[in-house]
């Protein structure tokens, strides 16, 4: 069993986006975080101080651990932002502004 079969989901065809330049697939309606999880990715940010990896923690927009850069815009919460076809999703380092 997987979650899609459990609820008998019949989504439209998956589309492609890229994560750090590599193509990954997402389903229409999923957030960037859900798309990354589907692709087996758990982390897409490194912290400002120690540079350690982070990904989803709260899943509902509270913790800001899931910050990601999409199409050049840093600091978006991956658990809230919808995945779009062709989006250029990149691991965010530090503040995402190349200033540290």
């Amino acid at each position: 069993m997987n979650p899609l079969d459990l609820v008998r989901a019949r989504p439209d065809a998956a589309f492609r986006l890229t994560f750090d330049g590599r193509p990954i697939e997402a389903l229409p309606g999923q957030t960037v975080a859900a798309a990354l999880w589907t692709a087996g990715e758990m982390s897409w940010r490194t912290t400002r101080g120690s540079g350690t990896s982070r990904g989803v923690f709260c899943g509902i927009g509270v913790c800001h651990d899931c910050l990601v850069t999409v199409d050049g815009r840093p600091n978006l919460r991956a658990c809230l932002v919808p995945a779009e076809p062709g989006a250029d999703v990149r691991t965010q380092e530090g503040t995402g502004h190349h200033d540290d």
Partner: protein, 469 residues
């Protein structure tokens, strides 16, 4: 003809939906505002419509109640009695001489401002999860239990293959059941609660047979999935370098300390952890509503201390979806009457009031049972990050208390920056207070959401504040 009064309901979870239906049916124009893409809140979070789930109920409970609320909302929307604004993140509610203005930011990037005018405001903002720190809790793969549930219900995704569900509280069982039914291998449910605490409160707990049956139902399903649940145990540490690889679980003694030699290692790629929920109180706080402990204070009609402002659901105390529905219903009826200048008749909502009394008693008892181990903070090593945003370690917090003499949470915060980052202390407050040995005074947050400076600059100017609704 005079215009009907306007009520803004913030939050479209069980409480907000019940309130919306109750008020709209009684001659009030309701604007329902929610940050999410669709109604349901945390309890009835739905998969995105594009995922075309034909049996979404497989992930849900009380589906018939949900259908009734959904149909009711649609009826009022069609009749024009309710306006529903999705994807609207409310960052502040402003009180004016004649009514209120609800300020929201629109869209995933939350930059476009929108404001809504209303004669009354009903806060149904729900809660979020409390997680106490432990070594390794910042590793990718460690997530909140409710977060795992939210990602599953909303995006139909699982974090990994092999999960441990741990912490304390009634949420662990539905989350473990949800993960297992969706195909994750749940290797253990680890709850630090001492079963003897249940026995001590048995008198109160047995008076709520449906709740006990619910718990027993989850336990039976977990058994069928072959999931082992252990009480009086806790995760001491999460291990891994780039991501979670396993956890150390310990048996706890009567005082909540790990039993020497009682630890074991469990391999897993996911740890879903929760130590209970906390109410979302920022908007209430900003309006000047009083709090009771960590929850918004309300009277028997669900009115806050501020005239024209009601609150319902988990914002007023954690107690599950059924209690939230009852409170929402009462709040909606009270608001409808009072905004129309009529004195409400509490007898008209007596069944909901009885449910509220019963469930509040039950959850107060449950809350005293599900407590994290008394000495959990002793297990947090000095190099453990306690404030995730600002990367403040337990050692720095202890130094602020022991070395620099900080005696309260505010001083600890000023000395260490704990709680000053992106999440504004929502995630770390309880943990930092525990490590510091200070009472967990809820921090005041002026804004419920991060707001772009341009929006703040324009906030005073209605024309610039974007489309009104």
């Amino acid at each position: 003809m005079t215009e009907p009064p306007r009520l803004a309901v913030i939050g479209a979870g069980p409480a907000g939906l019940a309130a919306t239906l109750a008020a709209a049916a009684r001659g009030v124009r309701v604007t329902l505002v929610d940050a999410g893409q669709g109604p349901g809140g945390q309890f009835w979070r739905q998969p995105a419509p594009e995922l075309r789930a034909r049996r979404p109920q497989a992930l849900h409970h009380q589906w018939r109640t949900w259908k009734r609320l959904r149909t009711g909302l649609d009826t009022h929307l069609t009749a024009g009695r309710v306006t529903y604004l999705t994807d609207h993140h409310v960052w502040c509610v402003e009180r004016e001489s004649a009514g209120f203005t609800v300020h929201a930011l629109l869209g995933p990037e939350q930059e476009r401002p929108v404001s809504v005018r209303a004669d009354g405001v009903l806060l149904a903002t729900g809660g979020y999860e409390k997680v106490l720190p432990f070594p390794g809790w910042t590793l990718p793969g460690v997530i909140t239990a409710g977060g795992a549930q939210a990602m599953l219900k909303g995006g139909l995704v699982l974090p990994g293959r092999t999960a441990v569900v741990a912490g304390t509280g009634p949420l662990l069982l539905p989350v473990a059941t949800g993960l297992a039914s969706a195909g994750a291998r749940v290797v253990a449910v680890v709850d630090s609660t001492d079963p003897r605490a249940f026995v001590r409160r048995a008198g109160v707990l047995v008076r709520e047979p449906t709740k006990l049956a619910e718990g027993a139902g989850y336990a039976a399903r977990l058994l069928r999935y072959g999931v082992k649940a252990v009480m009086c145990h806790a995760v001491l540490e999460a291990h891994g370098t780039e991501r979670l690889e396993g956890v150390t679980v310990a048996a706890l003694d009567r005082r909540g300390r790990p039993v020497p030699g009682g630890t074991r290692y469990i391999t897993c790629d996911t740890l879903a952890v929760s130590h209970g929920l906390l109410p979302h109180t920022d908007l209430a706080d900003g309006l000047g509503c009083g709090l009771d402990g960590s929850a918004v204070r309300v009277d028997a009609e669900q009115r806050t201390d501020v005239p024209g402002v009601w609150a319902a659901g988990e914002a007023t105390g954690i107690g599950g979806a059924t209690l939230s529905l009852a409170e929402g219903h009462i709040a909606g009826r009270s608001a409808a009457a009072r905004l129309r200048g009529i004195l409400p008749d509490p007898a008209s909502w007596a069944p909901a009031a009885r449910t509220r009394t019963r469930l509040r008693t039950f959850f107060t008892a449950l809350d005293s049972v599900y407590t994290p181990p008394a000495r959990w903070a002793e297990q947090v090593t000095d190099d453990t990050v306690v404030c995730r945003c600002e990367e403040v370690t337990a050692g720095a917090v202890r130094e602020a208390v022991g070395g620099l003499g900080a005696g309260d949470l505010r001083t600890v915060k000023l000395l260490t920056r704990a709680g000053m980052g992106w999440c504004q202390g929502r995630v770390c407050e309880a943990g930092v207070a525990g490590v510091a040995g200070c009472p967990p005074t809820p921090g005041r947050r002026l804004l419920a959401r991060p707001v772009p400076l341009g929006v703040l600059a324009e906030a005073g100017d209605e024309g610039g504040a974007g489309g009104g609704a």
